[in-house]
């Protein structure tokens, strides 16, 4: 599908040049996570650690099934468990595999100040190119889903790569491979949407009237999508944003403010230069010195 060459970039952080993007026959990919089929076994978490050679520090029990308790630089995906009592008074155990959503319009990439530290491939995968990362944490502020984590070890930002290295050689992501129930599917975005359609149909026939696909338009759609039994209330699932979008603060900062500020500075310098060539310097005149001398040493000798 894709390899990891710059020819495949369609977006590149902090770059004024448009990437070449000469390979234009790539299909957009997507991972579809069917929450209704997830049993919370964490095989995906293990597979992720295994493929990416990550071993986080062993933590402490925090009173929840979430283990570890949060995403971290060596834990790029996490099962989040929510116990929810529905309108009928029944308990629903909602389990959501959290991780990078691979937004079509990535807030992290928009916020990133390091050229080429965040790229988006033509297949839609948003990838962090660690060698270019400066560790500023702007991606954290740009992300609408609170995903990137800065490593205190090498001061670089990490998150799910959608196994871009596996996808690049025609394999599915490690979590997809490991899932025992088929709750995680991978393929072209079109195929995944039509598969999701079938799943939603099925869920509705079983009484989940509000079942639906989570592919939020606020970020241009995502390349990781969820099938939710309660698609009308995504936030039930451990705070999945109902209407995610790039924060207006980040949009203003990286949108209008940046060129405006630079133009202002350039204007200041040019205005100074113009003043210099039009009015010139303000020089002390001999008569100023004479006046001052007369003040300091009055001619009549009195001081």
């Amino acid at each position: 599908m894709a390899d990891l060459q710059s020819q495949d970039y369609i977006r590149r952080s902090a770059s004024t040049m448009t990437p070449p993007s000469i390979r234009n026959h790539e299909q957009e990919v997507a991972k579809l996570i069917d929450v209704s089929r997830c049993i919370g076994c964490k095989a995906c978490q293990s597979a992720c650690m295994e493929w990416n050679n990550l071993r986080g520090e062993v933590g402490h029990f925090e009173g929840s099934y979430d283990n570890p308790s949060d995403l971290n630089p060596s834990n790029w995906t996490l099962m989040r468990f929510t116990e929810w009592e529905n309108e009928q008074g029944n308990l629903e155990w909602l389990i959501r595999k959290d991780g990078c959503m691979h937004c079509e319009d990535p807030g992290c990439l928009k916020a990133c100040p390091a050229p080429g530290a965040i790229v988006q491939y033509a297949n839609g995968i948003v990838d962090f190119i660690s060698e270019n990362c400066i560790g500023c944490g702007y991606c954290v502020k740009g992300c609408p889903f609170d995903i990137p984590r800065i490593s205190p070890v090498d001061h670089k930002s990490y998150k799910c790569t959608l196994c871009s290295d596996r996808v690049g050689v025609g394999l599915e992501p490690a979590c997809v491979k490991a899932c025992p129930t088929g709750a995680i599917m991978f393929g072209s975005k079109t195929d995944m949407k039509s598969w999701a359609g079938e799943r939603v149909e099925d869920l509705k026939s079983r009484g989940f009237d509000e079942a639906g696909l989570y592919d939020p338009p606020g970020v241009g759609g995502t390349h990781v999508m969820y099938v939710l039994h309660h698609a009308d209330r995504p936030s039930l699932y451990a705070g999945l944003p109902d209407k995610p979008r790039i924060s207006p603060l980040v949009a203003v900062w990286k949108g209008i403010f940046k060129p405006l500020a630079l133009a202002g500075m350039a204007f200041g310098v040019v205005a100074g230069f113009l003043h210099w060539i039009v009015q010139g310097p303000n020089e002390v005149q001999p008569e100023d010195e004479a006046h001052a001398a007369a003040l300091i040493d009055p001619p009549d000798g009195k001081q």
């Binding site: 560790g135 980040v250 940046k258 003043h275 310097p281």
Partner: protein, 224 residues
């Protein structure tokens, strides 16, 4: 430091060292900050050894600047208090701009433009410090929410841009008004310079028999 005979002391040695530490920090902060602000200025990070080290060193320089600027506040605040002359000077600003001295009021140690620079920086530097702490990711990211950090990063950029504009004004004014630069490098100005730009200051020094920088300073305007 020995000052040239017959001149006035505009800034003491301590003030000058304090000023130039601040100035050096400001320039370094501007270069490193701009490199993290826009792709066209990212190359400036090369001056600091690359993106990672630029990101790491910028806040430490900021810390030095804050301490150093506190010194300038202590030394300059009194002479920067607003006075009636400021308003008159602002009304005559059109004349000031065209190097016309007629109709410009006599001024004490600082004019309203210099006071504007002082108070702008006195306001902006604490803002930059506070917002800078919030976005100093390595040490302080766990203490604030991401939303707070978003506000801080935008405010930091806005305050920094304002400070850079003030700095451009400050530097240009020093180049424009001849003799000012020497007042901050070697520390002295000629009596004629004082007569032309800060006549009230000159009169007070002469009346007090002081050589500067303030009437309370020791020494005489001219040895008998």
């Amino acid at each position: 430091m020995t000052y040239m005979r017959g001149t006035l002391i505009r800034n003491t040695t301590a003030t000058r060292i304090n000023h130039w530490i601040t100035g050096a920090c400001f320039v370094l902060l501007m270069l490193s900050g701009l490199s993290m602000f826009d792709p066209v200025t990212f190359f400036l990070s090369g001056l600091f050894g690359g993106g990672q080290s630029t990101r790491a060193i910028h806040p430490w320089i900021g810390l030095v600047l804050v301490l150093s600027y506190c010194g300038l506040i202590v030394q300059f605040w009194r002479d920067n208090l607003p006075s009636r002359d400021d308003w008159a000077w602002m009304k005559a600003f059109g004349r000031v701009l065209v190097n016309e001295e007629e109709g410009v009021p006599e001024l004490a140690r600082f004019n309203a433009g210099q006071k504007f620079v002082f108070w702008s920086m006195t306001l902006l530097i604490p803002v930059l410090f506070a917002t800078g702490i919030v976005i100093w990711d390595v040490y302080f990211s766990p203490y604030t929410t991401i939303e707070t950090q978003r506000i801080a990063v935008l405010t930091h950029a806005a305050a920094a841009s304002a400070a850079i504009l003030v700095w451009i004004t400050h530097v240009y004014a020093a180049l424009w008004v001849k003799g000012s630069m020497r007042g901050m490098t070697q520390g002295y100005v000629t009596p004629g310079w004082a007569w032309r730009h800060h006549r009230k200051w000159l009169r007070r020094l002469v009346a007090a028999g002081s050589r500067g920088p303030t009437p309370r300073s020791g020494g005489r305007a001219r040895g008998p």
